[in-house]
C-alpha cells in the first residue's frame, strides 16, 4: 500500500507538470478590431455577426463595418500600437495574469495627447469593447481580445 501511494504521488506531480505550461506562456495573442458603427442602411460584415448580435441589445446601430483587424503577439509589458482613424492611436500592453484573466493597460492617444486610458482584467479568450469617438456619421468601436495558450 505504501508503494502504491508513492506511485500515486509521482503521477500527481507529473500531472501537475503537464498543467504548468498554461502559466508558463509569456506571450499574449492580442487582436484589435476597429469597427465603424452607424445607423445607416442595415449591414453587418461577415466576421462581425456574433459581435453585432451581442451589441444590438445595448446599441441602436444598424451597420457594423470592420475598418481594421490587427493581431499582435505581445510579450508582457511590451506595447502594441494600432493606428486608428482620425489621427488616433491605440496602445495595448499586457501587464500580468491573475487567475484566468490577462491584465491589460489600454491607452488611446489623439494628436500625441492621451485622451483615454484604462486598466482591465480581461478573461482569457474573451474581449472588451471601447467605443465612443465620432467618425463619419457614426461611431468607432475598438474590440480588444486577448488569449494565452
Amino acid at each position: 500500500m505504501k508503494g502504491f501511494i508513492t506511485k500515486i504521488f509521482i503521477l500527481a506531480g507529473f500531472f501537475a507538470l503537464l498543467i504548468q505550461p498554461v502559466f508558463a506562456n509569456s506571450q499574449v495573442l492580442t487582436e484589435v478590431k476597429v469597427i465603424h458603427a452607424s445607423t445607416g442602411p442595415v449591414h453587418v460584415d461577415p466576421g462581425l455577426k456574433p459581435f453585432a448580435s451581442e451589441l444590438e441589445s445595448v446599441f441602436k446601430y444598424t451597420s457594423y463595418r470592420l475598418l481594421k483587424d490587427e493581431q499582435m503577439n505581445l510579450e508582457f509589458n511590451r506595447e502594441g500600437r494600432v493606428n486608428l482613424p482620425g489621427g488616433r492611436t491605440l496602445i495595448v500592453v499586457p501587464s500580468d495574469v491573475k487567475g484566468k484573466r490577462i491584465g491589460y493597460q489600454i491607452n488611446i492617444r489623439k494628436n500625441n495627447h492621451s485622451i483615454f486610458q484604462t486598466r482591465v482584467l480581461l478573461k482569457n479568450n474573451d474581449s472588451i469593447t471601447i467605443g465612443g469617438p465620432r467618425y463619419q456619421n457614426g461611431t468607432l468601436l475598438f474590440n480588444i481580445s486577448g488569449s494565452m495558450h
Partner: protein, 155 residues
C-alpha cells in the same frame, strides 16, 4: 352510499379528518357538519377507516422483529452472491480505498490550477481603473454574454 351534499368534496372531508385543512376552513367544515348528516356520515366512515388502518399497522409493527429480518436478509444475500465475489470481498474494499486515494490526490493537486482549468465567471473584463480628459465615461455589460463595454464621449 352516494354523497348528496355538494358543499364539500370527499377529498376535503378526508383532509378534514386528517386535520390537513387550513384553520379557518377546518372550523367552517366543523360548523357545517353540525347541520349536514350527509357529510357527517362521510366523516364517520373516514374516521372508522383511519382507525382500522392504524390498528392494523400497529399490529403488524408489533409482529416485526428487526433482528430476525436482518439475519434472514444476510443469509439470503450470502446465498445469492457468486463464490468468486465472496472471495474478492476483501479486495473490493481495497480497490475503493485506492480509488478514493487517487481522487483525493488529484483534487489536491488541481487546487492551485483551478483558475487555469475553469473559466472564471463574471464579465468579460473587470475594469480596474479609467483615466480620461473626456466629458463622460460609461461602463456597462451586455446581458447575454456579459461582454464589457467602456463608452466615452470625446466632446
Amino acid at each position: 352510499m352516494e354523497k348528496t351534499c355538494t358543499r364539500y368534496r370527499p377529498e376535503q372531508i378526508s383532509r378534514f379528518v386528517d386535520h390537513e385543512l387550513a384553520k379557518g376552513i377546518q372550523d367552517e367544515v366543523a360548523r357545517h357538519l353540525v347541520s349536514c348528516p350527509d357529510c357527517r356520515g362521510l366523516v364517520d366512515r373516514y374516521t372508522a377507516l383511519d382507525r382500522g388502518f392504524n390498528h392494523l399497522a400497529e399490529h403488524e409493527i408489533l409482529k416485526f422483529d428487526p433482528d430476525q429480518v436482518k439475519q434472514r436478509l444476510g443469509s439470503a444475500l450470502e446465498d445469492s452472491r457468486p463464490p468468486g465475489i465472496r472471495v474478492l470481498k476483501f479486495f473490493n474494499k481495497n480497490i475503493y480505498l485506492k480509488l478514493a486515494s487517487i481522487a483525493a490526490i488529484l483534487i489536491i493537486s488541481l487546487i492551485p490550477f483551478r483558475g487555469a482549468l475553469f473559466d472564471p465567471s463574471g464579465p468579460s473584463a473587470i475594469v480596474k481603473s479609467v483615466d480620461s480628459d473626456v466629458a463622460s465615461i460609461m461602463i456597462f455589460e451586455t446581458q447575454k454574454e456579459q461582454h464589457t463595454i467602456i463608452w466615452f464621449s470625446e466632446t
